[in-house]
């Protein structure tokens, strides 16, 4: 007896060198939109490069680069409504920036300051901070979606994760409940082929990750995650479907993690240079740029102007981040509970005394 073969759609519109393949999606001739998407991808990459540089020079801590994942995040960000909720993981700089998280907030977070998750923009007031423990965010997304459903709100939750996260029970339990309750959630799997050093082929025995949705009773599909036209279209359909109460969708975006897992990782230890070189031929920004250039709506002059404009924005964000100053010693205590319990008052005093002692430098012990 053999299991019935599961066949899921796979969508790609642009070849790696930026040529249209076959039928054109509606979005492909909206050059205004495509140019805006392109600009945002470039901004994301320049910011990402700056964040890595800041880590290399000791100005922020460990950072998870989003290099090569720009099409996925930018498409999600453009398509979500402001009152939708994003429940992201740690490689989501691209989507967070579009949603309204400020660059200096992202730098604050990775720079060791909790204020980086206290988003100032009202449009992201309900978005979750990035999730570090793998796949746990998928369940939080289902909880948010349940709240929408209980209150009868037509809002959608988007949650993201990498390919490795699909191995975890939390991910599968999230798919299960989302299917059972037909929750308005779009699960986006950024299948960038590597979970730190473990390649996709030994992560899971199923030929696709999207088919995990089938076992939970809802729709899954694959898309070329480096093809902005394809990601944008499939994400739009998925969000619409969820918003109309037609249930969750799992969108597996096939991509490649061009950078290290984080700045603390060295991917040359475990993956061949040839593979990475090949992946650079398929990366999303160059692909869309080639397409736009072939359509006569992009050129070197526009590119240079865009880079200068983005670098000014990034530079301003770095200045804001570096000018933010330290939080007070009390801040490490005062947000743990809504009100610090009287029963723990002594501990708060101890921390404040410790701060004074530390500020005294070598004074202690004398």
């Amino acid at each position: 007896m053999t299991a019935k073969k599961i066949e899921l759609p796979y969508t790609r519109y642009l070849s790696p060198d930026g040529r249209l393949i076959g039928a054109m999606p509606d979005s492909a001739d909206d050059f205004n939109l495509l140019t805006r998407l392109y600009r945002q991808m470039v901004l994301t990459r320049l910011f990402d490069q700056k964040a890595v540089a800041l880590q290399r020079t000791g100005r922020i801590g460990t950072y998870a680069p989003t290099l090569g994942q720009e099409a996925i995040g930018v498409a999600i960000g453009f398509l979500m409504q402001p009152d939708d909720v994003l429940v992201p993981y740690y490689r989501d700089t691209a989507v967070q920036l579009v949603r309204g998280v400020r660059m200096e907030e992202i730098l604050l977070y990775w720079g060791g300051d909790e204020r980086g998750s206290d988003f100032a923009e009202p449009g992201v007031a309900e978005d979750f901070p990035i999730c570090v423990p793998i796949a746990t965010q998928a369940l939080h997304a289902c909880g948010v979606a349940s709240a929408f459903k209980i209150r009868g709100e037509h809002r959608v939750v988007v949650t993201t994760c990498g390919d490795g996260a699909t191995s975890k029970g939390d991910f599968l339990e999230a798919l299960n409940v989302a299917g059972a309750w037909q929750l308005p959630v779009v699960f986006v799997v950024n299948n960038n082929q590597w979970a730190i050093s473990v390649p996709r082929r030994i992560q899971c025995g199923a030929p696709t990750l999207a088919q995990k949705a089938v076992g939970a009773g809802f729709h899954g599909e694959q898309v070329d995650g480096n093809d902005m036209l394809a990601v944008y279209e499939r994400m739009q359909v998925a969000l619409e479907r969820a918003r109309q109460g037609k249930g969750p969708v799992l969108l597996e975006c096939l991509s490649y993690r061009l950078g290290d897992h984080t700045t603390a990782d060295d991917a040359t230890r475990y993956r061949p240079a040839e593979e990475v070189k090949h992946a650079w031929q398929e990366e999303p920004i160059k692909r869309l740029q080639s397409f736009l250039a072939s359509q006569g709506v992009w050129d070197e002059g526009r590119e240079q102007a865009l880079i200068a404009e983005c670098q000014a924005l990034v530079g301003q964000a770095v200045d804001n981040f570096e000018g933010a100053g330290l939080q007070s010693p009390e801040s490490i205590v005062d947000h743990v509970y809504a009100r610090w319990p009287k029963a723990l008052a002594e501990q708060r005093e101890e921390i404040l005394e410790r701060a004074i002692r530390h500020a005294g430098g070598s004074g202690h012990g004398q």
Partner: protein
């Protein structure tokens, strides 16, 4: 309904009805909590009163229940989740430790997690394996959580209402052994009891007996037995074991100079050790004898034929009191 005698279980049920009626943000979720009213019937009647959208039978996955509650709470709901037995609670730990307890702090208060996790705890009901644990110390160790253990119908009622009101996550552990024991008069008036506070159940001057959960029952009986010998024992129900109301405990032990701590959980790294250490820091010179702990040994709860050996008995408590009272 005023001042009818109710069990601890009925008190829980009354508090849940009250909370759901008062605040439409309160939702109850868990395995079998809806149509079946919970395996102990703690949620009986809620589904009929408040509907399936607010009283939710979940798929059978504890990790999922906890993760879902984090998302709901962050959205401003007040989820009250039930885990059927404490032996099944460990699957929720990652969501409690890494998310529920930290969401407020991580976001500087932008998001928060006002959930209540209810679970039966403890041995003594001849239950199957994995149904008799008392692992409250695991939760007490986690910053950002509150851990509450009621030991009477009135405290179950008032503390559960307070826990649901609380803006932060609360682990609410219900001693299974007390669920249907000793009905007591209770007025369903919605009155909250304070969290973060001990309850002095009996005043005394010769020694202080500190306990929580089901062991409070044996501790009170031990105090009765001591009274017959002319010894005046103060009995304190800790009730909220995180954060600990050390001021009340300190004042009592400073007064009596002698202290016995009774809990059903295993000894090593149990909450009794924390209480003893804190008391030594605060009242060392007022102590007339070393503090004694009466606890389960460091073993898994035995299957039920020998479970009485696991739980501190009145005799065990009296034995420890004897040692403390006659310390030379």
């Amino acid at each position: 309904m005023a001042n009818d005698k109710v069990t601890l279980l009925q008190a829980i049920n009354l508090a849940l009805h009250r909370a759901m009626a008062e605040d439409e943000r309160v939702v109850v979720l868990g395995e079998d909590v809806g149509v079946n009213g919970g395996v102990f019937r703690a949620t009986q009647g809620l589904r009929d009163s408040f509907g399936f959208k607010r009283v939710i039978d979940t798929p059978l996955a504890e990790t999922m229940i906890a993760g879902l509650a984090v998302g709901m709470a962050a959205q401003g709901l007040r989820p009250v989740l039930e885990i059927q037995f404490m032996g099944f609670i460990y699957a929720t730990m990652e969501h409690l430790v890494s998310h529920a307890s930290r969401l407020r702090n991580r976001t500087r208060g932008r998001l928060s997690c006002p959930l209540v996790l209810r679970s039966p705890m403890g041995a003594g009901i001849r239950a199957p394996e994995h149904h008799s644990e008392s692992t409250e110390a695991m939760f007490a160790h986690v910053p950002g959580l509150r851990v509450v253990v009621p030991s009477s119908p009135a405290r179950a009622y008032g503390l559960l209402l307070a826990a649901i009101d609380d803006p932060d996550p609360v682990i609410f552990l219900e001693p299974t052994r007390l669920y249907r024991m000793n009905p007591q008069p209770l007025s369903d008036d919605g009155r909250r009891l304070p969290l973060d506070s001990c309850f002095t159940l009996r005043e005394g001057s010769d020694l202080t007996l500190i306990s929580w959960g089901a062991s409070v029952m044996e501790t009170l009986k031990a105090a009765d037995a001591l009274a017959e010998q002319g010894i005046s024992a103060e009995v304190i129900d800790v009730a909220c074991i995180k954060p600990l109301d050390l001021d009340t405990l300190e004042a009592s032990v400073r007064k009596t100079g002698r202290c016995v701590i009774v809990h059903e959980a295993p000894r090593t790294c149990g909450v009794g050790g924390e209480i003893a250490a804190s008391l030594y820091e605060r009242v060392f010179l007022d102590l007339q004898a070393p503090i004694q702990r009466v606890t389960a040994p460091d073993i898994p709860p035995p299957l039920y034929r020998l479970e009485q050996l696991y739980m501190p008995s009145v005799e065990d408590i009296l034995h420890a009191c004897d040692h403390v009272l006659n310390f030379a």
